[in-house]
């Protein structure tokens, strides 16, 4: 994050107060950090799954307005609890299981793009907004965009859990407001019903920019009922498979990609 220009002001690890990491101070608690450093805009949480709930609640109680976490395999009950607590205080969570997000040339939270040299090969400032359920595909789709000569405004890995702190619809609302963004691509997955929120948004004209989407998981229709592959969120629900979602989205003018590489051609005219 530091090498990519993010203004990291400090870290928190219980029992390690007073130490310095990369020239930044470490605190025992989020509250201590806030008392010392003043307002903090964003926190990103890296802890084992069993400690995630407490870490979240600490950040929420300290009113950090934006919380990201990479932590995978957080029990869904803990996630639901934290999302409810965050909502009560108007706090946004991106994740769980989110590698973070990147505004090329400006900064990043988390590890999207990997080491700076690699990130610089994949990301350059541009007009395409990127949303992905998959961390790897955030990079891969961003790379395909770059390879075709375009750049990204912001790329966000929303995480693959069944419960998402920030959904496609939440981000599309922000991309709608963002002047730099001219079109958005989404890498989605089968399961869950978040894509149907997009349909409503477009009908209500809350999102009006060109949008292309790829929904992975067509192959699951050949699997036995109830199988769960890949991300926990990808549980095939009746009437909410990849094909049903594609049909609903196409009906409101969303461009549907047959392969993830097709996303590039679909948005190129609008870049």
């Amino acid at each position: 994050m530091l090498s990519y220009g993010t203004q990291v002001v400090g870290g928190v690890r219980p029992g390690k107060a007073g130490e310095m990491v990369e020239g930044r101070p470490v605190f025992n608690s989020v509250a201590d950090a806030k008392a010392e450093l003043g307002p903090i805009d964003i926190t990103t949480i890296y802890v084992p799954p069993f400690a995630a709930k407490e870490a979240f609640l600490e950040a929420i109680e300290s009113d950090i307005p934006l919380i990201n976490t990479i932590v995978e395999r957080i029990p869904i009950k803990d996630t639901a609890y934290c999302l409810a607590a965050a909502k009560e205080r108007g706090i946004r969570i991106i994740g769980p299981s989110s590698l973070g997000f990147i505004a090329p040339g400006i900064g990043r939270i988390g590890v999207v793009g990997g080491p700076k040299e690699l990130a610089d090969q994949i990301f350059q400032p541009g007009s395409i907004g990127i949303i992905s359920r998959s961390g790897g595909m955030t990079n891969e789709v961003s790379w395909q965009i770059r390879k075709a000569g375009m750049g990204q405004s912001t790329a966000v890995h929303v995480g693959g859990d069944l419960l998402m702190g920030t959904t496609y619809a939440d981000l599309l609302e922000m991309f709608e407001q963002d002047i730099q963004t001219r079109a958005v691509v989404i890498y989605g997955e089968h399961g869950g019903s978040y894509e149907f929120e997009i349909v409503n948004m477009i009908l209500q004209k809350r999102f009006t920019k060109p949008l292309a989407i790829y929904i992975g998981g067509k192959f699951t229709k050949v699997l036995p009922e109830g199988i769960n592959i890949g991300h926990a969120g990808a549980i095939v629900a009746r009437g909410q498979g990849a094909e049903e979602k594609s049909a609903a989205l196409a009906s409101v003018g969303v461009m549907i990609a047959q392969t993830y590489e097709d996303l590039v051609q679909l948005v190129q005219p609008y870049a």
């Binding site: 799954p49 009950k77 690699l118 998959s134 961390g135 891969e140 036995p224 199988i227 047959q258």
Partner: protein, 391 residues
Amino acid sequence: MNLYEFEGKALFEKYGIKIPKGVVIRRGDNVDSHFESLNSFDVVVKAQVLSGKRGKNNAIRFCSGKDEIKEAVEDLFSMEVRGQYVASVRIEEKLSILSEHYVSITYDTNAKQPVLIYSEEGGMDIEDVDESKIYKCLLDISNEKLELKDADFLGESLQHIFQSLWNCFLKEDCRVVEINPLVKTLENAWVAADAKIALDDDAFFRHEDWETFEPRTMMGRQPTDREIAVQEIDKGEKYYQGTAGKYIEFDGDVALILNGGGASIANMDALMDVGLQAANYTEYSGNPPREKVYQLAKIVLSKPGLRGLWMCGVVANFTNMKETFLGIIDALDEVQPRYPIVVRRDGPESAEAFALVEECKKRNSLNMQVFGKETSMTESARILAEAIHKQ
């Protein structure tokens, strides 16, 4: 993890929800000695499988008399239910049914909170029940006391059952609890005639008792030896748990070693689009150590009848290419496959990794093509299909 009916019912009982009196028969058990404890020959015999729709698939039999019961048990063990292996059979007392209702609690992904769903019209065709006859109420995850809106019509005894179900949902870290049908008997008692529970695998760390559940796959069949072997490799060191743990066997002949949950799903689609059939679904994610990747790759390559190997992943964010490919190379050196291999991958330290892979290809004379990020994943699927068809 999805529970069998008898496991679900045991949990319901633990939380005070009444279930029919019954016994579980496993393959090879002596049927007589078991059902005698029921003191009744008027029973329901139910195949224990993870699929729904058992009634419509002849997996539930109403019997009276010893011979009929024994015949039903034998018959159920000899069949597959919607492609699923019958692990065991539950024999239970027949209920005297006044009415059949439906109740479940699960997570509503849009509202991001649990939701209770109830209908007076339960039973086999719950999917077809009209929306107007379905009661839904979002639940507050931080409130152990169940508070239902506009629920006066439910009555006290039913609300009491729902509270027990909510306790079970919360305390047992469930993703789904469902009772269908929830039976009202002629004696005016509420009894859970069926049980469908999905536990949250991610909460395993706080439920040591879950270790005692018998192994199962989501495929509804017994796990294969190779599937069990992969689960074993993933145990090991806590820090790396979950990084190399996916291996599901299919009927096809193209071995897969994929990377990342999302990309692997896109790649399964791509494989299907080029007309190839997967021998397995395998992915490793995160940053697994060399040894783990080696063991995983060796198991993938050990399946008989393979005609190709596809190792495909995204431009990685942080997976170390060199470390992970060293594990792959160890396995290739040992197995030396003769069928076509296509690799598509990129990420940190990929130049070093590719140089090592090239050396491995040379010393083993492998029919192998290696691509970085300039070739897309879908393109590499096409290349593999061509190579296999050329053979």
